[in-house]
């Protein structure tokens, strides 16, 4: 313990001196453009690199979805005008080629799950907020942090390169199940695309692990004086646990990917057994395609929590600040995050109820899966109670946070259907699943991300986003999101990943609905482009931030200068005396974490139901 303290103090003094040096002679002056903006070790710059790369990937991934929605909504549309860009992927009749459709859905899933909602969300906000909110000069290792981004960048380059292969990018689904993805003769995307895909994912995992190690170390070791674990703002808890999940589950995906690379290129049979394809009986024997699914979903399921936990953390903070109320049930919020973290590792096989897995194992996973709904429900009720009797300020950040809660409820309840194996027999691999996970972890995570971007944009860039465009963005997005994904539940018998359902009488009744969904999807994409415009425009031309703490928030990032340099605080790092949620306490609008407790004041959680007595006082006060 004492050793740890000494290390921390040494580190702080060291960085303090550093910061002072820079502070004295305008540290911008020393740094070249490359070391400041490209190979930067400043967590704030790295966060922005993650964010902007994530935005670029989101445009690509969203654009792909527009293309395949056109195929689903307007199967007869003449797309010959796209031929100059897409070449042979447009059939002679002017439609999207089926193999291209498969590549589109595969890349859409991969890009959004990994590059946007993992790197773009966790990478951005963990990087940006952890040091600022725990009171650290920077991450534990700025250099490793920089490597984390550049591995992500490399991974992006490899994935982007796969689009230009003659045989196209991977086209066997973002889950890359073998044998479809293990055998080059099974699909055009499996010829070379899957090798690129696997290499890219391997690099991506390196990036996630380097980043995660840093987040964990920083949260554990570099908290400022007085910042106990139970005084941490909720986003930090969420980022911390997200990193823990990533650290434990991504290596399993790495092994799954490496074994697949062996099967593809070295003639091994980890996932292959008794296969007859293309007129040949292959020599592979003894492997199991189900083994891959177990390995994949051992990451794949925790991955959805890697995506949603940061969003939950951000939303908790935003809801509390803008409703001028403490987050309700802070301790319960932390423990429910912990419960989700632990449970996320023992629910993976609910993706595999109908793969031929032993039904008894299936029933155990039903139990764990439905248990995980309890901490999720607790979180929802706590968010609702946070709003109750607040003084709610509706800026775009708050609107997106409220939208998150709504989407999380709407998408979450359908998980109860899918987690129950008997109902899953009917719903597995249908549009009901598509609707469920898009609402609960796709759009909801995006809403968490938007809430974060709108809330912390002034801190990040020293300027405000245009709020009118922000409001339009919110309304456009939430209306379109519901219009796209709510009616999709009624397509509960339609199999996923079909470029057309026209061959089946049973599935033919949804042509009109599919068209409607496509229109909503295109509109939604347009609103996102508007946001992107607002984002980049405001970085340079937005209204300048003139006050240090525009939201009257308690957390430490608002004690830094308006445009913090590398090292974050000009002088000494502030000391923390209380938790982050003393809003509307004892008649005061907010009490920053840096303010010592007054003599009569008890800290949150120090004894029973202080808040209850508080509310009674309030009642009396109001008569």
């Amino acid at each position: 313990m004492s050793q740890e303290t000494t290390i921390r103090e040494n580190l702080e003094t060291h960085i303090d001196e550093h910061a002072h040096d820079h502070g004295h002679d305008h540290h911008d002056h020393h740094q070249s453009f490359i070391s400041k903006y490209i190979f930067s070790t400043d967590h704030k710059v790295i966060a922005k690199q993650f964010l902007i790369t994530g935005i670029i990937w989101a445009i690509v991934g969203g654009g792909l979805s527009v293309l395949f929605r056109i195929q689903l909504g307007y199967p007869d549309a003449d797309l010959n005008w796209m031929r100059p860009f897409l070449g042979k992927w447009i059939t002679p009749e002017g439609h999207i080629a089926p193999e291209f459709y498969n590549a589109l859905i595969t890349m859409h899933g991969t890009i959004l799950v990994f590059f946007v909602l993992t790197a773009g969300l966790s990478g951005t906000f963990s990087n940006y907020l952890i040091p600022l909110m725990v009171g650290a000069r920077d991450m534990a290792s700025g250099f490793i942090n920089m490597l984390s981004y550049w591995f992500f960048f490399l991974s992006s380059v490899v994935m982007a390169a796969s689009f230009f292969l003659a045989t196209g990018p991977a086209s066997g689904g973002w889950t890359a199940y073998p044998p479809l993805n293990a055998l080059p003769q099974a699909a055009t995307g499996s010829v070379l695309g899957v090798d690129y895909w696997l290499l890219s994912i391997v690099l991506f995992i390196v990036s996630v692990l380097l980043g995660g190690l840093n987040y964990i170390t920083t949260v554990i070791n570099l908290r400022t004086r007085g910042m106990k674990m139970f005084r941490l703002p909720l986003p930090i808890w969420a980022f911390f646990l997200t990193a823990v999940i990533g650290l434990l589950s991504f290596p399993v995906l790495l092994s799954a990917g490496v074994l697949m690379l062996f099967d593809r290129n070295l003639g091994t049979s980890f996932y292959l057994d008794q296969i007859y394809i293309g007129g040949e009986a292959l020599a592979n024997a003894g492997g199991s395609p189900i083994l891959y699914q177990h390995l994949f979903w051992f990451l794949g399921h925790p991955e959805v929590y890697i995506i949603i936990l940061p969003a939950m953390g951000i939303v908790s903070e935003v809801l509390s600040v803008h409703s001028r109320k403490p987050i309700f049930g802070y301790t319960a919020m932390v423990y429910s995050l912990l419960a989700i973290t632990v449970l996320s590792f023992i629910v993976w096989a609910h993706h595999m109820f109908v793969t031929g897995m032993n039904p008894f194992i299936g029933s155990i996973f039903v139990i764990f899966t439905l248990i995980i709904a309890v901490p999720s429900a607790v979180k929802v009720f706590n968010w609702l109670t946070t709003l109750w009797r607040g003084n709610i300020k509706l800026n775009p950040a708050m609107l997106f946070a409220i939208g998150f809660v709504s989407l999380f409820i709407s998408g979450g309840v359908t998980g109860i259907f899918l987690g129950n194996s008997s109902i899953d027999v009917e719903l597995h691999d249908t549009y009901f699943v598509v609707a469920h996970f898009h609402l609960v972890m796709g759009v909801a995570a995006f809403f968490g991300m938007f809430a974060g971007v709108y809330h912390w944009f002034p801190k990040m860039f020293g300027r405000h986003l245009n709020s009118t465009l922000g409001y339009i963005h919110f309304w456009g997005t939430i209306i379109c999101a519901y219009l796209i994904f709510y009616p999709m539940h009624f397509e509960y018998m339609l199999p996923r990943r079909y470029p057309t359902h026209a061959g089946f009488d049973t599935f033919g009744m949804f042509a009109q609905l599919n068209e409607f969904i496509t229109i909503a999807a295109i509109a939604s994409f347009a609103f996102q482009l508007m946001f992107v415009f607002n984002f980049f425009y405001s970085i340079w031309y937005g209204r300048k931030l003139r006050v240090q703490n525009p939201y009257h928030a308690n957390t430490l990032e608002w004690t830094t200068p308006i445009r913090p340099g590398h090292g974050n605080w000009d002088g000494e790092i502030p000391t923390v005396y209380r938790w982050a949620y003393d809003y509307s306490k004892h008649g005061r609008d907010f009490i920053p974490q840096t303010e010592p407790l007054s003599a009569y004041e008890l800290e949150h959680g120090e004894h029973g139901d202080e808040s209850d007595s508080d509310i009674i006082q309030h009642e009396k006060h109001n008569g």
Binding site: L183, I277, R324, K325, L387, L394, N395, V413, S422, D429
Partner: protein
Amino acid sequence: MTGWLIFIAVLLVLIVLFQVTRTLDLVSQLRGDDDRQLEQNTKLHATGLFIFMVLGIIGFFWSFRHYSDTNIPVASEHGVYIHNMFIATLIVTGIVFVVCNVLLFVFVYMYRYRKGRQAVHFAHSNKLEFIWTVIPTIVLTGLVVFGLQAWTKITGPSSNDALVFEMTGQQFFWTSRYPGADGKLGLRDYNLICPENPLGVVTKEYVEHRLNLLEGNAALGVMGEIPSLQKRKEELPALIANLEAEIAKRPNRYKKEELEAELETLEDELEDIDDKIKIRMLNVERIKNKYTEDYYMANSEAMTWGYDDILPSQLHLPVNKEALAKITALDVLHDFDVPHMKVKMDAVPGMPTSFKFTPTITTAEMRQTLSSNPIWQKVKEGDTDPMWMNFNYEVACAELCGVGHSAMKYILVVETEAEYEAWLAAQTPYWNAVASSLKISGLSELAPRPVVEEAASDSTAAPAAADTTAIAINY
């Protein structure tokens, strides 16, 4: 040209709109009274959210009415359990969905920002948190218990007199197989698959035929895949050299590119040809190692099961009789999906799976039911009858299997016991159709095989136990 004009017009409109939003932002800034501005904005958007909620809830209930015709009737016994679970879950989650969303938007509206008002410092309450931890736990426990009861019934063992059939998925079609009069499906071995034996059924003749196809048999005039590939390998270098010389001579660019593409194909072929030969030689090796005299002795009876297997072009099942689908795949993952029956099970190469179900509505009855459904009144293009008249149960593939994933349709006909028996009696064993075209010695002796009678009576003998690589599907 018009395209460009529209583009420019849209661009101008967007610029104008953006300038308006900028002005709005600047005006509010100049006015200086941030609090009042915020109060107004908050009121506007809180009202908006409230209206959004009201419309949303109306839409929620309306949509159930609107889409009621798209629900497909449940046509299997276990499908009813699933449907009941679905409805129970729908009611529970429907209440949660409506109540939570209403609370959310109502709270936002009620407690919207007003200047000078103070929020209540209400940080936690053990009582409340206890209540809303316990209630979901109890409700979810109920759903788990009922769900697992249904699950156990669905996945439990099938009855002994269940009708067994087999579905095999491959890119991109299904093949079904029924046991013949002996009631047993023939053994299978993927090493024996060839055009005359699409599922790799094991019989002595198929083994010989497959070896002849691979290795060749001069006496029968069969070239054999391996010898022809070896011959091709010897020819290829000369072909490539010729083509290269031809290309060098050609001054014409267009023709040249065509030839170069051809050259590339030949070079690729040469590169892959060794692998192709090796794969086939290993195939021969596996067959020879396995089908020895000892194997024939030990499995003499099991080797005859395949002769009377039926490979029909449609699935037919009698109504109200339990059916057991044995599900396999040859190449990649597929999934045997029968939406009306609520049947779904992956087809995995190398790992047989199964799903038991009892159809409860015949195709004819279902047509009758759908005759009053507006959706099925539609007349399809090139058709004269409304759709319900030609309704059939459809089997689909529900696991992404490649470029033809959405084309894997198969027809399932559910009929009365008598109709089913009549249909079955009209089917001829697959063997009868192909036996005469097999390339094996002593072809003249090969007449369609009679049913082996003792096999049908003695079902306990399971010589297939000795067999490890064949997909032995008989229990």
